[in-house]
């Protein structure tokens, strides 16, 4: 099925199940420990052996020698596999660095070998007995130093120019020109990268933890130089991914290598430090924003440049992307430059590009409003646009951004904010409020599903879609239930298996809308088949309360499948509506923060997000997405930073004691409001995504609140107290 024209009325509009705050259908399995994660699966042919990965102890150079003799003699050891004795591996498309290094070392903790043993402890202890000598090479680890040599990009990442930015900026009576930095960040998901792999003949099977089953299958096939049909990937439950698990990682490759070497299933979970330096991260950025306005506050020039780094062959953090679309203004510039760095691989992390881009842009907007003496909400409202500012003939499919700002302001008590910073005190605490826009584009991906109606009237959905904690099981069940006129209890959902039709997968906040659209398409087909089986007119048949009705006839759904299961499979594909209309999601974040005027400790006291993201498929799971994102945003604003050792080229704080993310005590009451919308130009579900929208802008709202509290502007994230302590008011 192809979605080519705006959706008319369809069965989803009934919203009997869709749009309801249905509890997670997999909730009980998770809270009772019955949902198996990658490392825990028992459905494995034979007793698995344990693999422990050895990571490079240097960032750049070569392995001069690797002595495995002692390790091989240790109790329980079955195999030691390294580049020396492994089959030659290919490389997938999506990774920059090789997943098995050696003798060349491309980054710190790059996998160099795996030790396989009967027990985890034996494998780990033998891994520590492998002696590696290195020839240290010289690497580039400092973004600021590499910045002058950073290169322009092409294609989607090329510079953009609209009008005459330089001229208009120079002529603008009010100008802002500031430079900001965002640090390297870690996904820090709870479940580590983990895989159980085994071979049956030339076929490879894995239980793994991955967001994108179809990509993973392809990448495994490319790595092991085998046909994709011979690869079976299953990932039914994923304990968080945040983009880190979009791609094939070393756990799967090393487990498969180990399994081949010892002829048994091998399981590997990467230890926490490997989650940082072995895997991918969100790269640091240096960003410059220039905004020129009229005296009345209309933006006439807006320019955003960003520098980031990655291993040779890698890509940039696309931090300037949202600036192309968020605010009006005739003269525009965006530019990204990419430097080569020999740090671990930079890659996607939740709202890649948007998150750090909006962290910066939305401080710059706050600073510009202050220069204008304007309220930052009003400044944003004044510069709203209903069309793509680079292509005014191209409207937004739906843009209720201003309503988000205004309803949020009213709800939050924004009018109580003092424009002049540092004015509100409660005892030792300085209190401030901040606002920032949330803005993330909608992406649709081809997504297929199979639906089966059995003789007991139960509908089973099969798709390789993943649920990474987001609620996919639930919204897919709701979609099938709505389409087939059933309660959620009559729908079974099976996910995360490469033997199922390929879905959109979970990434880029495309999962909810795309995967449910795929299920919608399959259900449309199933409805036709059911109607035909019952001898009813598919065009007029209605599916209500477990029955199919047409004319004056009605029959139960179960009856239709009595003589045999009815199966339908279909994919949702997308026409060019995304070209004709800019499809995006919007929101506004409001934050109240308190800063201890003595110690500089910051406490976020209240948070509100107002989101406009099309139809909300399930307000409960959607809210969870947004409050999780707001929490991540507080982390990004106040504490999260991978500390780079610029001499040795690695992230030093590579565990959860050193890389701090918010704890419960950091997170105050969070309120989320969804505007009641349905966007008929994006999909038959009329829904968009919220998973990344919720993160975009949060950091800046916190930063702006801290500024409003203290009067000290910090332009380098995270906003830790060492950066403003000395500028706080004198102490008694």
């Amino acid at each position: 099925m192809k979605f080519e024209t705006p959706a008319g009325a369809n069965p989803i509009d009934a919203m009997k199940v869709i749009g309801q705050a249905v509890d997670r259908v997999d909730g009980k399995l998770k809270t009772t420990g019955q949902a198996p994660y990658a490392y825990e699966h028992k459905d494995v042919p034979g007793k698995p052996a344990y693999g422990y990965v050895i990571g490079a102890g240097i960032a750049k150079g070569r392995v001069a020698s690797m002595n495995t003799a002692e390790a091989k003699r240790m109790p329980g050891v079955l195999a030691v596999v390294s580049a020396e004795n492994a089959q030659p591996l290919g490389k997938g498309q999506m990774n920059t660095a090789k997943l098995l290094g050696g003798p060349e070392v491309d980054h710190y903790h790059q996998a160099l070998a795996v030790v396989v043993a009967e027990s985890f402890e034996q494998a780990r202890s033998a891994a520590n007995a492998v002696r590696i000598e290195y020839e240290r090479g010289s690497g580039r680890f400092d973004l600021a130093k590499a910045k002058p040599g950073a290169q322009p990009l092409t294609g989607n990442d090329a510079d953009t120019h609209t009008g005459d930015f330089e001229g208009a900026f120079a002529a603008a009576p009010v100008q802002l020109d500031q430079t900001y930095t965002t640090p390297d960040q870690n996904h820090a998901m709870m479940e580590p990268f983990a895989t159980i792999a085994w071979w049956e003949g030339d076929a490879l099977s894995v239980w793994t933890s991955n967001q994108m089953i179809a990509w993973n299958k392809k990448e495994l096939a490319a790595t092991f130089k085998m046909p994709p049909e011979k690869v079976h990937v299953r990932s039914p439950y994923v304990g968080g991914g945040f983009g880190g698990k979009l791609f094939l990682r070393a756990d799967a490759v090393m487990a498969a290598l180990g399994a081949k070497a010892c002829g048994r299933p091998v399981k590997i979970a990467l230890p926490r430090p490997f989650m940082v330096n072995n895997a991918t991260h969100r790269p640091a950025t240096i960003q410059r924003v220039r905004i020129g306005t009229t005296k009345e506050g209309r933006i006439t020039a807006i320019g955003h440049e960003s520098w980031s780094g990655d291993l040779p062959g890698g890509g940039p953090e696309v931090a300037t992307q949202q600036t192309r679309l968020l605010y009006a203004g005739a003269n525009r510039l965006t530019a990204m430059r990419l430097a080569e760095l020999d740090l671990p691989e930079a890659n996607a992390m939740r709202a890649p590009g948007e998150a750090p881009g909006m962290m910066v842009l939305e401080i710059a907007i706050d600073e510009t409003a202050e220069k204008l003496g304007m309220d930052p909400v009003e400044f944003r409202v004044l510069n709203d646009t209903q069309v793509d500012p680079e292509h005014p003939e191209r409207p937004f499919s739906q843009r209720n951004f201003v309503r988000c700002l205004q309803e949020g302001a009213a709800r939050f008590g924004w009018s109580r904010r003092k424009a002049k910073p540092g004015q509100v005190r409660e005892g030792r605490w300085l209190i401030g409020m901040g606002v920032a826009s949330a803005f993330r584009n909608n992406i649709n991906m081809t997504s297929a599903a199979r639906v089966r109606l059995a003789g007991d009237g139960v509908v089973t959905v099969e798709t390789d879609m993943t649920d990474i904690g987001t609620g996919s099981y639930t919204i897919i069940a709701q979609t099938a239930a709505e389409m087939m006129g059933l309660p959620v209890e009559k729908v079974r959902v099976k996910l995360g298996d490469s033997s199922f039709p390929a879905s959109a997968g979970s990434g880029g906040q495309w999962g909810a809308n795309s995967s449910t659209s795929g299920v919608y398409a399959a259900c449309v087909k199933l409805r036709e088949a059911v109607a035909q089986r019952l001898g009813m007119d598919p065009a007029t048949a209605e599916f209500i309360d477990g029955e199919v009705r047409a004319g004056n006839r009605s029959a139960s759904l179960a009856e239709a499948a009595k003589s045999g299961e009815i199966v339908a499979e279909e994919a949702m594909q997308w026409g060019d509506l995304a070209k004709k209309f800019q499809q995006s999601t919007f929101g506004a974040h409001f934050v109240e923060a308190a800063v201890d005027s003595y110690t500089g400790e910051t406490r976020v006291r209240r948070m509100l997000a107002v989101c406009a993201a099309g139809r909300i498929l399930n307000p409960k799971t959607a809210r969870s997405q947004v409050i999780g994102a707001m929490t991540m945003g507080v982390g990004g604003a106040l504490m999260e930073e991978l500390a780079v050792d610029r001499r040795f080229g690695f992230f030093v704080n590579h565990d959860l004691a050193g890389y701090e993310v918010p704890v419960h005590a950091d997170i105050p009451h969070q309120e989320v409001i969804f505007l009641d919308e349905a966007d008929d130009k994006v999909s038959p579900m009329k829904a968009k995504g919220v998973g990344e929208l919720g993160l975009c802008g949060v950091g800046a709202a916190v930063a702006n609140a801290v500024y409003n509290a203290t009067g000290v502007r910090v332009r380098d994230y995270p906003i830790t107290l060492d950066k403003y302590l000395a500028k706080l008011p004198a102490i008694a």
Binding site: R124, Y598, T599, R647, F648, D666, D722, A726, L728
Partner: protein
């Protein structure tokens, strides 16, 4: 983790003898620090002597009017003890500011004093570290040192001692009681218990091989108001950037020890004498010999401002 043998000792002297008698012997109490270090092979004992059956898990009153805290009293039990809460509030506050509820249930009094540094380079066996591998160098100097020490450090090591409890014990003038393999006992004032790194950062305290901590004693209650203010990058479950343990009197006099700044709880008696002159005077004396890195110089300012916050609270 290296393979090791394990025994549970029945008496303190037997425990001490068992460790002294094994070349790679080591005590294990709650295991919350030691096991992590063993997994990373930062500690590689070949024989563990578990001390949990030694009966050293009581808090008793001493003849001098203070308390004797058995080494196996858990951090949770110590913090919750009614006498401690009433008379040694700074200790309760310091303990509950540390780690998490689960960890404090396992963590013991002696183990807490002997927990090792949280310097990230100490934790990464690919990096040079004089504390982990004497003579290998110190990767933290010139590296990521934001969390590390500003005073009492040396050219060999700039790590801090991470304990919160120890900072409170220092301000209370506690003493550490021990027994060795021969059954000989001694009592070491807390201020002399931890050693500064000098050229031997791997030697962290005055304990001899096999010497077992049996208890920690508190002198009779000091009175005054008790404060423990721990500043960190998040609200809970993080080691201190700076912490201030203080016992203050109504007239502003009192005593203070600082955490997060040095290889041992940092207290300078001459600085205590300046309490009535304000935080800045105290900090100037306490940190006169500070030698911070450019990444952690803020800790000196923060120590002063945190003490000022505590003094302000005392006045309020």
């Amino acid at each position: 983790m290296k393979a090791f043998t394990y025994e549970r000792a029945k008496t303190p002297a037997a425990a001490a003898a068992a460790v002294a008698g094994h070349k790679g012997g080591k005590f294990i109490a709650g295991g919350t620090n030691l096991l992590d270090l063993m997994k990373l092979e930062i500690e590689t004992p070949t024989h563990l002597v578990d001390v949990q059956d030694l009966g050293l898990d009581k808090i008793e009153e001493t003849a001098e009017g203070g308390l004797r805290i058995g080494t196996l009293v858990s951090n949770t039990a110590l913090a919750a003890d009614a006498r401690v809460r009433r008379d040694y509030g700074v200790l309760t506050r310091a303990i509950v500011a540390g780690a998490s509820g689960q960890l404090r249930n396992k963590a013991t009094t002696g183990g807490n004093l002997l927990q090792r540094t949280r310097c990230p380079y100490f934790y990464d066996t690919n990096q040079a570290c004089n504390k982990r591998k004497p003579g290998s160098g110190c990767a933290a100097i010139g590296g990521f040192s934001r969390q590390l020490g500003v005073i009492g450090t040396s050219d060999a090591c700039i790590a801090t001692h991470p304990s919160d409890m120890a900072i409170a014990l220092r301000v209370l003038d506690a003493a550490v009681e021990t027994v060795d393999a021969s059954g000989a006992t001694r009592s070491v004032p807390i201020g002399e218990f931890h050693r500064l790194p000098g050229d031997t950062p791997h030697v962290e305290n005055v304990l001899q091989r096999g010497e077992l901590i049996t208890s920690v004693t508190l002198p009779k209650p000091l009175g005054g108001r008790h404060f423990y203010h721990k500043v960190r990058d998040r609200a809970s479950y993080a080691f201190a950037l700076v912490s201030v343990a203080a016992v203050l009197n109504e007239d502003g006099s009192g005593r203070v020890a600082f955490g997060g700044v040095a290889p041992k709880p940092w207290r300078v008696e001459a600085a205590d004498a300046k309490m009535r002159s304000g935080a800045s005077a105290v900090a100037r004396t306490a940190f006169a010999d500070a030698r911070p890195t450019h990444e952690n110089a803020f800790k000196v300012t923060l120590a002063e401002r945190t003490l000022a916050a505590v003094m302000q609270e005392n006045r309020a």
